[in-house]
Structures are given as structure tokens and as C-alpha cells.
């Protein structure tokens, strides 16, 4: 599978020094030209976001009956999209926190992009549970706050664990991202030429000057936070899996769901990081820092996570027949051969069969093919969520409760609206914040003797 050892591909261009790297990365937000591609990407994204806002406004006005959620399939697009987004978000934390703990070289230049992706994907994910509460203005009831109704949250419910997990994850991602970006904001403050830039960057850099104690405490805090974020991201996705596994709906009560969802997070998260890297490295001029090594390592990790998904699907198919439960068998056969069978088979092709082309070295060398596999991954994971959420609810225990699910136009509008929100937010971040972790790159360059 690998004839050229990955270690031989340089992880950073040999001609970069810490000065040239700093100029290259910090020059991007300060640039005034070369943003045409950015505007061409921002306008459609903002339009999609506006479309989503319209749909959300309409849903507030008329109630969520304008969505497709209805008897008999009560959970539809909102939960599907929530799980899809949180899986993508988790991939970013895997790259930045988990791979920090194992001290790999290739994480250094891509972790800022991954963490920024996590921020916006987590926000997009968090919108859905609030929206589909039905009375979102009462969302604060999920908090255990002292109230006159003497009410407490339902601690035993996986949906509450989900709320706690998502809340913790968003707060933790923001703090972790901000801690990592603080030294780079100090660089931006020192390099900004216009007064507004200097003031804003200076304010958010909080006066970080790179003193010995500041670096010492930053490294210790960042390391400890990474050590906590790595289990946190696994727990967030496991709690999402528990949302389903705790129920008695056929097809959901499977003990492998928590790690299965973690595999799915790895798969779609890493694929999205790959897509972002492939599209951003040239327009931002980061190609000397995000080299072929990063692409190839991510490609191999994608292949590994696809194999993990295949393993989970094998057990998912084995369990209904081994357990001998008639309803499980009926729901599985419906999945595979019923009206929505194209969803199941599309999922198998996109997540298990097509990614096997990554075994071929020539395919891995082609960025176009990698992009196609990555797009296939996020489509395949969307199909998988549809498969899990909708198709299981179509074949519950009582035949009188079997029905079809038809997504409404507002479901689609909100979904593309969140995609617009993610892209808009990410594009704004590209414009304002350095997209490579400069202080970690300096350490890497020093290790390589290129300081």
C-alpha cells in the first residue's frame, strides 16, 4: 500500500523559515487583493443562509407543523442533520486534540482549520435541537436552574445527556480554539497596519506577549485541555449514539451504537477536513505548509475509518438475525429491500465500497479522486442518518404504526441554510483569523532546523 514511506515526504517546505512562515500565514487576513474567489464563495453561501433564516422564521410563525415531522415518523430532518453536523464537528476535534496527544508532526499546520471547522459545525448542529423543541423559547428548562415550579430535568434521559454534552462541547471548542489562537492574534496585532486591526486584534489577544511564563502556562493548559477534549469528543458522539440506543425502536437498540457513531464521526469529520484542505491550500497560499504529507496521511486515516464503518455495518446486519427478534428482522429487511432501499445501498457504496479505491496508490495521489471520496463520505453519512432516523421509525413494533416520511420544503431550506451558515462563518474566519497555528509551526520548523 505504501511504497514511498510517508516519512520521506516533507511535512513542511524545506525553504520556509519562521519569518517567512509568519509572513505567509499572517499576511492572509491583511491582504487586500486576491479575494475574488472569496466573494464568489461568500455570495451563494450567504444566500443559502438567508434562505435558511426565512424558513426558520416561517417555522417560528406557523409552528413546526410546516416540517415533514408528523405521525408516524416523528424524527426527521432535524435530528438527521443534527447528527450529521455534530459528526463533522467531531472530526475537527479528533485532528486537533486527539492527534495532539500522540505528538504527530502532520497535525501542526492543519489543526487551526480543523478547529475552526469544529466551531461552525458545532453551532450548526446546536441550532437543530433548539429549533425542533416545538417551543424553543422554553429551551432554558433543560438547565437545572432553581425554579418556582419545583421541576428538575429528566436526568435519566439520553436527550438531556445530549444537551449537556453538546453544551459542553460548544463551550469547550470555543475555549480550546481561543486559547490556541491567542498567540497568533498577538502576531496579527503586531503586524496589522490599520488602526482598527491593531485595536481589535490587540483586544482579543489580551496582551499576550510571548513571555516565558506565558508560554509555559499556555503549553501546559493547551496540553491538559487537549487531553480532556479527546475523551470529550468521543463522549459527545457516544451520547448521540445513546439517543438512539436507549430507545426500544427496532434497529436502534444496538449496544454498538456509541462506538459506531464515533466511527462515523471520524469518517465524515476527516473527510470534511480533507475537503477544506484541498480547496483552501492554494487560494490562501498555504501550499508550502500544508504539503502532500498531510493529504496522504488524511487519505490513509479516511481509509481506516471507512474500514471501521464496514465492520460496524457487518455487525449491524448480523444482529437482527442473531437476536431472533421478529420486529428487528422485519425492519432490517425493509431497510435493505423496501421502498427506501436506495438509501441503504447508497450508504453502503459511499461509506464502504467506494472508499476502497483509496487502497490504490495512484488514486490516493490524485487530489480530485480524494475530493470525490470525501464528498461521497459526507453524502454517505447523510444517507446513513436518514437510514437510522427515518427508516427505523417507519417499521416500529406495531404494523398499525408503519408509514412513510415525506420531507417538507422547509426541511430542505433549513438544511441548506445551515450549510450556508457553516460556509459563511468559515469564510469570514478565513478572512479574519490566521488559518495555520503559527506558534506551533515555529516549534516544528525549529525541530526541522529551519528556524
Amino acid at each position: 500500500m505504501s511504497d514511498v514511506p510517508l516519512g520521506a515526504i516533507p511535512v513542511v517546505d524545506p525553504r520556509e523559515t519562521i519569518g517567512s512562515m509568519t509572513d505567509r500565514v499572517s499576511g492572509v487576513p491583511l491582504r487586500t487583493t486576491g479575494w475574488r474567489w472569496w466573494w464568489m464563495a461568500l455570495v451563494p453561501s450567504a444566500s443559502l443562509f438567508a434562505l435558511g433564516l426565512l424558513a426558520v422564521g416561517w417555522s417560528f410563525y406557523r409552528g413546526i407543523r410546516v416540517w415533514g415531522n408528523d405521525w408516524l415518523v416523528m424524527w426527521g430532518f432535524p435530528i438527521l442533520a443534527y447528527v450529521w453536523w455534530i459528526a463533522i464537528a467531531s472530526g475537527g476535534t479528533f485532528v486537533s486534540a486527539f492527534f495532539f496527544l500522540v505528538r504527530v508532526e502532520w497535525r501542526t499546520s492543519i489543526n487551526r482549520i480543523a478547529e475552526t471547522m469544529t466551531l461552525f459545525a458545532a453551532v450548526c448542529a446546536g441550532i437543530y435541537p433548539i429549533l425542533h423543541l416545538g417551543r424553543p423559547w422554553l429551551a432554558y428548562w433543560l438547565f437545572p436552574y432553581p425554579n418556582t415550579m419545583t421541576l428538575w430535568p429528566q436526568w435519566k434521559s439520553p436527550l438531556l445527556w445530549d444537551f449537556m454534552a453538546l453544551f459542553t462541547y460548544v463551550v469547550a471548542s470555543v475555549l480550546f480554539w481561543y486559547l490556541g489562537v491567542m498567540p497568533d492574534l498577538a502576531t496579527m496585532r503586531d503586524r496589522a497596519t490599520r488602526r482598527t486591526g491593531q485595536v481589535l486584534y490587540g483586544f482579543f489577544a489580551m496582551g499576550f506577549r510571548g513571555t516565558g511564563p506565558q508560554w509555559r502556562h499556555l503549553k501546559a493548559t493547551y496540553g491538559a485541555l487537549a487531553a480532556i477534549m479527546a475523551p470529550l469528543v468521543v463522549s459527545v458522539h457516544s451520547v448521540v449514539g445513546l439517543d438512539f440506543a436507549g430507545a426500544a425502536t427496532p434497529g436502534w437498540h444496538s449496544t454498538e451504537y456509541p462506538p459506531f457513531f464515533v466511527f462515523g464521526a471520524l469518517w465524515s469529520g476527516l473527510s470534511t477536513v480533507m475537503l477544506l484542505l484541498l480547496t483552501l491550500r492554494r487560494p490562501l497560499g498555504l501550499a508550502p505548509l500544508i504539503t502532500e504529507r498531510h493529504i496522504q496521511v488524511l487519505a490513509k486515516l479516511m481509509l481506516t475509518s471507512s474500514l471501521c464503518m464496514s465492520y460496524a455495518y457487518i455487525l449491524d446486519a448480523f444482529e437482527p438475525f442473531y437476536s431472533g427478534d421478529a420486529t428487528e428482522r422485519i425492519q432490517f429487511l425493509n431497510r435493505v429491500f423496501g421502498g427506501y432501499a436506495f438509501v441503504y445501498w447508497g450508504m453502503i457504496v459511499c461509506n464502504c465500497l467506494f472508499p476502497l479505491v483509496l487502497c490504490v496508490r495512484r488514486v490516493r495521489a490524485s487530489h480530485l479522486m480524494l475530493g470525490i471520496v470525501a464528498v461521497g463520505s459526507i453524502v454517505g453519512m447523510w444517507l446513513e442518518r436518514f437510514n437510522i432516523v427515518v427508516i427505523s421509525l417507519q417499521r416500529t413494533h406495531l404494523p398499525s404504526a408503519w408509514g412513510r416520511y415525506v420531507p417538507a420544503v422547509f426541511d430542505w431550506m433549513i438544511f441548506v441554510g445551515t450549510i450556508g451558515l457553516f460556509l459563511t462563518g468559515f469564510l469570514l474566519a478565513v478572512r479574519l483569523v490566521p488559518m495555520v497555528s503559527m506558534y506551533e509551526m515555529r516549534e516544528l520548523l525549529a525541530e526541522k532546523g529551519q528556524a
Binding site: G246, A248, H253, T255, L303, Y311, L315, F321, G324
Partner: protein, 338 residues
Amino acid sequence: MMRVAACVLGLAIATYGWRLKSGGFFSGWLAALTLFSAWPLGSMALLLIHSLTGGRWGEVLRPALRVGVCSLPLLLPAVLPLAAGLSPLYAWARPDAAGHLANAFYLNVPFFAARGAVYLAVWFVLGWVVLFGRRIARFAPAGLFLLAVTTTFAAIDATMSLDPHFTSSIYGMIAAAGMALLALSMAVLLTAGRATPDERADLGKLLLALVILWIYLDFMQLLIIWQSDLSTDVPWYLDRSRGVWGGLRIAIVIGHFVLPFFLLLSPRMQRSRAVIVSVAALLVAMEILRSWWTVLPALGRSVDWIDLACMVGLGGLAIGLGSWMARRPVFARQASHV
């Protein structure tokens, strides 16, 4: 020499025990077999993973992991008592109980034997590739995938089917995590004397990570089954929560997770030889206890000296065979190549 003596003694006691109480012998043998088959399989998995990821831990542990893989041939004679004991052990192997089982298409003796043969064939091929292969990284993803699937279904066949109504799709993953942990602990015990403090820190971090992985997987199974409270799944846990098994369960949580977790948290403790060796020994002991906790309650038995004799016997044989084979010139020559 001591190992040979231990295993001969253990085998002798176990054989004598077989003549006396055949029911107890078979379950004790099954527990010992599932535990000590974890050593070669877990070692294979760790070697394959290391060929993909690299890392100092693998360089340090490679000789000990190879010893583990070399103990694989023991599986062939060791499954013979299992084959002889199918009826006393498994309800589905008895014609009177098997009739009304819905999963009889899977749990029947011919299919079980065929699957067992496939698992053994796959493991032997993988073992050969790991020990003699020149470029393991090329086959590692496919090898790990095959290892994962065969280990999962072997665990389902061997221990999950003791209760034919119990289904847990994470069972294979828990078994795999336990196997990796056992293999790593055995390798650490065999190597810890020669490792530097930095290498010990790496090993400590790896042990900590696997301990956390194991408790996560095990707790997920408990939580999901507890939550839904279905009558097909819960008896498995109820049988293992009563009486001495309940106490053992708490002991396993403390010994398998709480103690190693807090001992391995601080970098200073990770570097200490005493801590690493004692944690590894503790984990091996906990895996033994867990093996008994998994197998014996299904047959309504309590821990007996025969179980201990089977463990000692099979364990001694495994260690003896592994280290003897690893010292053979053909294996030693390969070790210097990889």
C-alpha cells in the same frame, strides 16, 4: 524451567479434575482458553497497528509481542477439550434445548465447527505474515480488518452464545479491547526490566489509553442494556451481579479501571518501573477475573480450584511455548529484519 514445571503441574491437576468433575472442567477450560488466546491475537493486533503508526512503544515491545504471537500454535490442541465439551457448555448444542432457538441457523454444531476452522486458518495466516512478512504495512489494514471480524465472531461464538438469547453488538469490541490490553500488559511485564524511563512513559500512556477505551466500551454495553431493561438482555447482567459475582464485578471495576487510571495519570508515575510493572500485573489478574466473570455464571458455577488449575496450566503452556519458539533461530533471524 519453572514455566515448564508450572504448566505440567497445572495440566496434570486439570486432567485429574476432568476425571472428577467434567462440567466444571469445561467451563474453566473455556475461560482459560478465551483468556490466553487473547495473548497471541492481541499481540498480532498491536504489531499490525504499530506497522501503520510507527512509534517508540512498538520498537520497545516488539520482541515481547513476537513471543505472544509465537504462542498461537497452542490454540490448536487447546480447542480440542472445547470441542469435546460442546454439549455441557452450550445450550444450543443440546438437541432438546436447541429446537426453539431462533438463531439456530447460526448456533449449531456443524456451522460452529466450520467457523472455528475459518478463524484458526485466518489467525495462522496472519500470524505467519506478522512474524515472517517483509512489508507488513502493506497488509496491515486488511489484516486488522480480518482480525477484527474473526475475533468478534469468535468471541460471540465462544462466550456470548453461552446465553443464546443475549445479543450485544459491542461484545466483540469489548473482547478486542480486553485482548489488546492483555497482550500489552504481558508484553510490558516481559519488557519492563529493559526499558528506559522515556519508553516507560510511552508504555504508561498506551496502557492508560487502552484502560480508558475498555471501560468506555464496557460501560456503554451496561448502560444501554440497563436502560432498556429487555428480558432477553438483562439476565446476562443479573447472573453476574448476584452473590460473589457482584462483589467480583466491583473488584474488577476498581482493579481494571480506577486504580490503573489514577496510577497512570501523572507523568512521574508513568516513568516509574514499579508502577508500570505493578499496573501491568494487576491488569493481567483483572483480565483473568473478568474471564471467569464472563464464562462461569452462565453455567451457574462459582470459582473453583479447577478454574485456577486450568488458568495456570494453559498460561504456563502459552508462555513456555511462546518463549521457546521465539528463541528458535528461524524466528530470531526474522526479528532482526523487521
